[in-house]
């Protein structure tokens, strides 16, 4: 307990800030300066937020062997102390509500407060998954309306609303493909995954029991169409392709790829994580896609990690629609919305491959996503993708003279701008730039991904940053690039102003300490 600063501030902060290695930041920001102990190290024994009656001495003989020998190691804090602990921790966090969050491939956009207001309406917020359907017709209507929008925006025949996240949606799509192959009496084993696809794609294919074969990228950062065609054959179940891809580029050959895959009897899975760049402009169904998940927390502005499971609906082509998992929300002949479950699967879902989740999905995410769609309208969504792409290209062109842009000559980027450490002097790494960005008061970009680019820095500003905000970010990045060229040693020790300095990530991974075990083992 000694040495713990219960006030929450790090007493040595001024020394750190004035230390000889500390540089001045471009933005003038000093990151966040809070310090906080573990909740177990705060408070004192016997203190609680509520009065609990002493337990009765009489314990039934049947339970007596379970009586505790020692008090449980619970933290002893009053209610305000507990509130303050978590509030202080929250102030150490950095989120989209504090500043730009340019994490490539993640679409960290603003979560409109109107969404929150809608999601908190009691008819949506307080429903129970087991209450009678006729008491939740409004909620079911929301799910169905959202499903209808997602089908229209993607040009697809059907949508499974129950998957809980992007990777869960990928699995759903691949299980649909497997079910379709089973129905044809075929046991195809291979799924082709381009190097420019999302990292979860090969993992999903392997998890679904397929063998993964990689397709190389062209020097321009796109799928090597010829290499893909060479791998096609009777054992290919399908291809998993990310469009726009993780190099931030549109795959103009997707239609040709899809036609070639269909010609050999395979299916096309598209990773929809980057849908924000094309929503309202390109319908994946028109490009021959058979299945695509949609991350509602990316394109449709629901919070990342928004208080429970997320939602990763999967849109499906005519070919895969019959195999969508239950439960399924459907509109009956008289316009009423109801659920198709095992007992009524005869309503067109006889071939459903099964069930991935207990209930129908995350109501809070559905409500937020529909609120986002309705408040933007079709024209607004079109502007979303336009502004997201414009912002990313503004960053690409504003930094390509100071940072190597490996695909800068491949034409405009889509929603994210990709740089590499190739132009940085020896000894200065992508990690140094990312850590320097923390000192500048920004969350770092995605680093060392995609793997096809050495020392990658992937920046996705999204449409919700203003030009002034982007200019401020660009100024900080240019300053970091200049410091790198000058071999500024202080970059190696950044961040200087964050609550923690450069962490030993290697040791944290090799010898992780994951559980607090009390003072005796500290």
């Amino acid at each position: 307990m000694s040495g713990v600063n219960t006030a929450g501030w790090r007493p040595s902060m001024n020394e750190v800030a004035l230390g000889d290695m500390a540089p001045a930041t471009q933005s003038g920001d000093r990151a966040l300066m809070l310090e906080e102990a573990l909740i177990f190290e705060l408070g004192c024994e016997g203190q609680t937020g509520v009065d609990i009656e002493a337990p009765s001495k009489a314990v039934s003989p049947a339970l007596s062997k379970f009586r505790r020998k020692a008090a449980p190691a619970l933290p002893g804090l009053s209610e305000p102390e507990t509130v303050r602990h978590y509030t202080r921790l929250s102030r150490q966090n950095y989120g989209i509500d504090l500043g730009p969050f340019p994490l490539g491939s993640c679409t960290m956009k603003h979560n409109p407060r109107l969404n929150e207001k809608m999601a908190r309406l009691p008819g949506f917020a307080d429903v129970h998954p087991l209450q009678p359907q006729k008491t939740v017709e409004g909620a079911l209507e929301v799910i169905e309306q959202l499903a209808d929008w997602l089908m229209k925006l993607t040009g697809m025949a059907s949508v499974a609303m129950s998957p809980k996240a992007g990777a869960h949606g990928e699995l759903c799509g691949l299980l649909c493909i497997r079910a379709a192959l089973d129905a044809r009496g075929e046991s195809r084993e291979i799924v082709l995954v381009p190097e420019s696809a999302h990292g979860t794609n090969p993992a999903t294919a392997a998890f679904a029991g397929f063998k993964v074969q990689a397709i190389p990228a062209t020097p321009e950062g796109r799928v090597d169409l010829e290499a893909l065609k060479e791998k096609l054959g009777p054992d290919v179940a399908g291809v998993m392709i990310t469009n726009p891809n993780t190099c931030g580029l549109f795959e103009p050959d997707l239609k040709e790829i899809a036609d070639a895959v269909h010609a050999v009897g395979g299916y096309v899975y598209c990773d929809g994580a980057n849908f924000n760049a094309i929503v309202g402009r390109v319908r994946p169904g028109d490009l021959g896609v058979d299945a695509m998940h949609i991350n509602l927390h990316k394109t449709f502005s629901t919070p990342h990690g928004g208080g429970g499971p997320g939602a990763g609906p999967v849109v499906l082509s005519e070919a895969l629609a019959p195999y969508a998992p239950l439960p399924f929300v459907t509109r009956g002949e008289e316009g009423e919305v109801h659920l198709v479950e095992e007992e009524n699967r005869g309503e067109g879902h006889e071939r459903a491959f099964g069930r991935m989740v207990a209930f129908h999905g995350q109501m809070g995410m559905f409500t937020r996503a529909l609120a986002y769609i309705l408040s933007h309208g079709a024209d607004g969504l079109k502007q979303v993708s336009e502004d997201a792409v414009l912002n990313a290209n503004y960053i690409l062109r504003s930094l390509e003279d100071v940072l190597e842009a490996p695909f800068g000559k491949s034409g405009p980027c889509m929603h994210e701008a990709l740089f590499s450490d190739a132009g940085l002097p020896d000894g200065i790494s992508t990690l140094d730039i990312a850590k320097g960005l923390i000192d500048e008061g920004f969350h770092p970009m995605t680093v060392y991904f995609p793997l096809v680019v050495k020392g990658a820095m992937l920046i996705e500003p999204t449409e919700t940053e203003s030009k002034q905000g982007l200019d401020r970010f660009i100024a900080s990045m240019r300053n970091l690039a200049q410091r790198a060229q000058e071999q500024d040693e202080s970059l190696h020790t950044a961040p200087h102003f964050a609550p923690r300095r450069r962490l030993d990530e290697t040791r944290a991974a090799r010898k992780p300490v994951l559980v607090w075990k009390g003072d005796e083992e500290a």
């Binding site: 060392y448 050495k454 290697t506 991974a509």
Partner: protein, 123 residues
């Protein structure tokens, strides 16, 4: 006894019908600090080009492809506690697995040291 190299930066040292496989010094340098190595099961049958091991570093998780077909005879247990051996001694103590060769002619498709050095220099 001779050593061969693959374009995926694996080396294989062959003695009789037993090949010892690891990743090259160039590969470990590119990956950075190795934090975990996921090895195949002993006795598993593998085909040339299969992804059969994973090397995690602070930057990325990378697949290791077996440069030859055969049966896994032994894996390097020391890496469970000391994955850093792949960084410090990649081509000796940091070996990953030993494979009983099914088809020695597969070695002909690999590079010798001089060819691999040339290959790396061109990257």
């Amino acid at each position: 006894m001779s050593v061969y190299y693959s374009e995926d930066h694996e080396w294989i040292e062959v003695e009789g019908d037993l090949g010892t496989v690891g990743i090259t010094d160039y590969a470990q340098g590119q990956l950075g600090d190795i934090t975990f190595v996921d090895l195949p099961e002993e006795g598993a049958t593998v085909a040339k080009g299969d992804s059969i091991a994973v090397v995690d570093s602070v930057k990325a998780a990378s697949d290791v492809y077996t440069p030859v077909s055969g049966e896994i005879a032994e894996t390097n247990d020391a890496l469970a506690d000391e994955p850093e051996l792949v960084n410090s001694d990649p081509e000796v103590g940091g070996w990953l697995f030993r494979v009983k060769l099914a088809d020695a002619s597969e070695l002909e498709e690999l590079m010798d040291e001089a060819a691999y050095k040339k290959f790396v220099a061109g990257l």
